[in-house]
């Protein structure tokens, strides 16, 4: 028997004997049970912020500081709470650039590479982490040229002007458009604020808390018909470990 051949005996070993489906057979006939009784339970063991962080991609501190400053302009700290830096977003981005996201792992990267129309999507042999690195280095180059200062030390409005130029394709790069870099930067900042804290951003679930998103809850069956608004303490996938 090869391990990729699944017949009756193997299938039932794989599926019907594993948690969920066995439990299901006991509730046929209309009973409504809570999710936790069907599969797994949350264990609230990982409440605190993520203190173990490190750079996996960026090698030069100035690059990382400039990335951080740009993210903070996209999602700034205000009276509601932390901005991108306080939420750990620069580490989220750095770590993602070192992994499947940064290397375009599940994307078609065979040539020929020909620039097409916008509706055909990006057509570059460059990996996203290469685009990010060139983009972040350009922040510094433009800043030095215009203000003779490092990007991260500029005033917010000055940083915004550079970001707007990137967004509007006013900066030339080889191999990609500056708007493509800006879109990656913008989208990754939002993702770092709002993805599960297991990825290193959204520190202590505060990104979720600000928008009143409860995260990876198991079930809302007891609340779905209610007219009342529920502000629920958010839950991370980390809360299921342990």
């Amino acid at each position: 028997m090869q391990d990729n051949v699944i017949d009756r005996r193997n299938f039932f070993k794989l599926s019907l004997l594993s948690g969920g489906v066995v439990a299901v057979s006991t509730i046929s006939g209309g009973a409504i049970l809570h999710a936790t009784e069907l599969t797994h339970v949350h264990k609230k063991t990982q409440e605190s912020s993520n203190k173990i962080r490190g750079k996996m991609f960026f090698q030069v501190q100035t690059d990382f500081d400039n990335l951080s400053a740009a993210c903070e302009r996209i999602y700034p700290k205000d009276e509601q709470g932390e901005g991108a830096i306080g939420l750990g977003v620069p580490y989220f981005i750095d770590n993602q650039l070192a992994s499947a996201y940064g290397y375009n792992d599940r994307e078609y990267l065979q040539g020929p590479f020909i620039e097409g129309i916008a509706e055909q999507g990006y057509q570059t042999p460059m990996r996203r982490n290469e685009i990010f690195l060139e983009g972040v280095k350009a922040l510094e180059a433009i800043s030095q040229k215009r203000y003779k200062k490092t990007f991260s030390s500029l005033k917010g409005v000055e940083q915004d002007k550079i970001l707007v130029d990137l967004e509007k394709n006013k900066i030339d790069f080889i191999g990609f458009k500056s708007s493509e870099f800006f879109t990656f930067l913008r989208d990754m900042t939002i993702a770092g604020v709002l993805s599960d804290p297991i990825y290193g951003g959204n520190d202590n679930k505060n990104g979720w808390r600000m928008m009143q998103y409860p995260g990876a809850q198991m079930s809302y069956i007891d609340k779905i018909t209610s007219d009342e608004f529920f502000d629920i303490e958010p839950m991370s996938l980390a809360d299921m470990e342990g």
Binding site: D7, G20, A31, E107, Q120, Q123, D160, E167, S226, M240
Partner: protein
């Protein structure tokens, strides 16, 4: 040299909804069935950590690996097609269960009008759209389809209620929905009231997310939906959303006559003397080639791949848009989506929901209204749903809000729980220049050409899109407590970048006549009696609905056809 394996009665390419249904029905009848699946095995157990938007929602954890296979795209025959390098516009599934694992569960029957669209449209309006639109009847009627719809809906335990316009549309049911509609919510009631003020006829969306515990006619159990908000792009951790992996595949397995071989990518249909003799496939772990002989071959992969396998195996005549000759690749259609978002100061539990938790109206769908003064045929459903918003994908902000910065942050956080969208999902009609063919340049990881998509929205699409977008704005404005609305933009050129819909149809169309279809109404290939092709590729056009109910119904019809063929060994019609 390819290793030749032991012959089976039936081989299917892929183990999703269509492969699973065919396997369940044929094994119950005593045939041996083998499914070749390019992905891995997965069961409900795989989804214990599924509530992860970044992994599954944004990075497509359950979708096709584009580095191995994708499509190329251009707008028209004169353009240069370039690869769809990263998923965007549509999301192709992967692994056992296929796209049937990550669907939302919207389960609509197509209208009687849909199956006879050419005849009925010509009767009422003449050749209104002109000859560039290649409208076709499907070769059978709604009456012929009803029992197969009924069967698929019982397999899935669909939760629904009678459409108030059913009688007007001729949409009869031989039995009621297996389960009552999903729970109703404050958001949906807000939409329902506004729709009724507009004299529309709202009803609860038919859902494959089981409301209660349900046992289907095959003896397979579904658990009650928990409204956890992780349906579309996700597998159901509760086994509540009907999918091949908790219904037809375990049923087929229980017969002892079904085998799935994973990591097996089919690259060619083998043939001799006008019959299929089996398939050639590659084990994706070793790249070793195998030949799987079979009495009957069934193409049950996604519609792009079904078409591609026929093309690379040189079965049927490739469609040529210049001459109009050939049927393979013809009538590729998509879907058009439109909508208006309404913003409130009041908060709603927008983050809860289920894949098909919603309310919809058919007043402007099909031919339910007079099109004499309009520049289009068909229409769209108008709906509101509570799928459970996830924060990265869904960031509703009012008109004029910047895309980033301090004002964006405030708007994002304030409006996440204060927005309701009124959407439309529109029909897509075939046009002579929208079709599928093989790409001359780009190849997949197995050396086979990528499928090439030549497609753009048509004048028909644009006129329909504008008409329905305006209707959604009218409904949105009427919702009680609305602060402002943001109407979606009218249709521009088709782009593969933003997500729109995984409702790709056509290319291996069905019909009563080999001149206008690839397969007959039992989904049997016109040129090869023991080859069946089933899926949304069979559609002659796409309706203002989701395709899965029709795909499931066609798979049951296909299984019936295969059993008939197995007895008679000839062309069925």
């Amino acid at each position: 040299m390819a290793e030749v394996l032991k012959k089976v009665d039936v081989v299917t390419v892929g183990a999703g909804w269509t492969g699973g249904i065919v396997a369940a029905e044929l094994t119950k009848a005593g045939l041996n069935v083998l499914s070749l699946e390019r992905g891995m095995m997965q069961t409900t157990e795989n989804f214990a950590m599924i509530h992860d938007e970044w992994r599954y929602g944004i990075n497509y954890g359950l979708m096709q690996d584009c580095s191995k296979d994708t499509v190329t795209f251009r707008h028209n025959v004169n353009g240069l097609a370039l690869p769809y390098r990263k998923m965007g516009s549509f999301l192709l599934g992967s692994n056992v269960g296929g796209a049937g694992v990550h669907w939302n569960g919207w389960t609509f029957r197509f209208l009687p009008y849909d199956f006879e669209i050419k005849t009925k449209s010509f009767e009422r309006y003449g050749n209104k759209l002109g000859n560039d639109y290649t409208l076709q009847d499907w070769g059978l009627t709604y009456k012929d389809m009803e029992s197969y719809y009924d069967k698929f809906e019982k397999t899935c335990g669909i939760c629904g209620e009678e459409n108030p316009l059913a009688e007007k549309m001729g949409l009869f049911r031989s039995s009621p929905y297996p389960q009552e509609p999903l729970e109703n919510t404050k958001m949906l009631k807000r939409f329902e009231k506004a729709a009724k003020e507009m004299k529309l006829h709202p009803f609860r969306l038919p859902a494959a997310n089981s409301k209660g515990g349900y046992t289907n006619p095959d003896g397979q159990d579904l658990a009650p939906c928990q409204y956890c908000a992780y349906c579309e792009r996700f597998g159901c951790e509760y086994g509540a959303k009907a999918s091949p992996i908790n219904t037809v595949i375990p049923k087929a397995m229980s017969t002892g006559k079904y085998t799935i071989r994973t990591h097996s990518n089919v690259i060619e249909i083998l043939k001799k003397d006008g019959k299929a003799t089996g398939v050639r496939f590659v084990d994706t772990r070793t790249m070793k080639e195998y030949i799987q002989p079979a009495d009957i071959v069934v193409l049950t992969s996604y519609m792009f791949n079904n078409a591609k396998l026929l093309m690379v195996s040189d079965i049927g005549e490739q469609y040529d848009p210049n001459t109009g000759k050939g049927t393979l690749g013809k009538n590729y259609c998509y879907q058009i989506n439109m909508g208006t978002t309404a913003f409130f100061d009041e908060q709603f539990n927008t983050y809860m929901g289920s894949g098909a938790l919603g309310t919809t109206c058919d007043d402007y769908n099909g031919d339910n209204f007079d099109h004499s003064k309009e520049k289009f045929l068909h229409g769209a459903m108008i709906y509101s749903v509570q799928l459970g918003n996830r924060p990265i994908q869904s960031a509703p902000v009012p008109k004029g809000t910047p895309n980033w910065g301090a004002k964006f942050k405030k708007a994002l956080n304030y409006n996440f729980t204060r927005a309701i969208t009124v959407g439309g999902q529109g029909a897509s009609l075939p046009h002579k220049s929208n079709y599928l063919s093989l790409d001359p340049t780009y190849k997949d990881a197995f050396g086979m050409p990528l499928i090439r998509l030549t497609y753009n929205f048509t004048e028909q699409d644009r006129a329909l899109h504008k008409f329905i977008t305006d209707k959604t704005a009218e409904v949105a404005k009427k919702m009680q407590g609305v602060r402002s609305i943001k109407k979606g933009a009218y249709l521009k050129d088709y782009s593969v970048v933003p997500y729109q819909s995984t409702h790709n149809t056509g290319g291996t169309t069905m019909g009563a006549d080999p001149q206008t279809s690839v397969v007959n109404t039992y989904l049997q290939h016109w040129d090869m009696d023991n080859l069946f092709v089933v899926g949304a590729g069979n559609f002659q056009h796409n309706s203002g609905y989701n395709p899965t109910d029709t795909v499931g119904a066609l798979a049951y019809r296909c299984a019936e056809g295969i059993l008939k063929y197995h007895k008679n060994d000839r062309q069925l019609v």
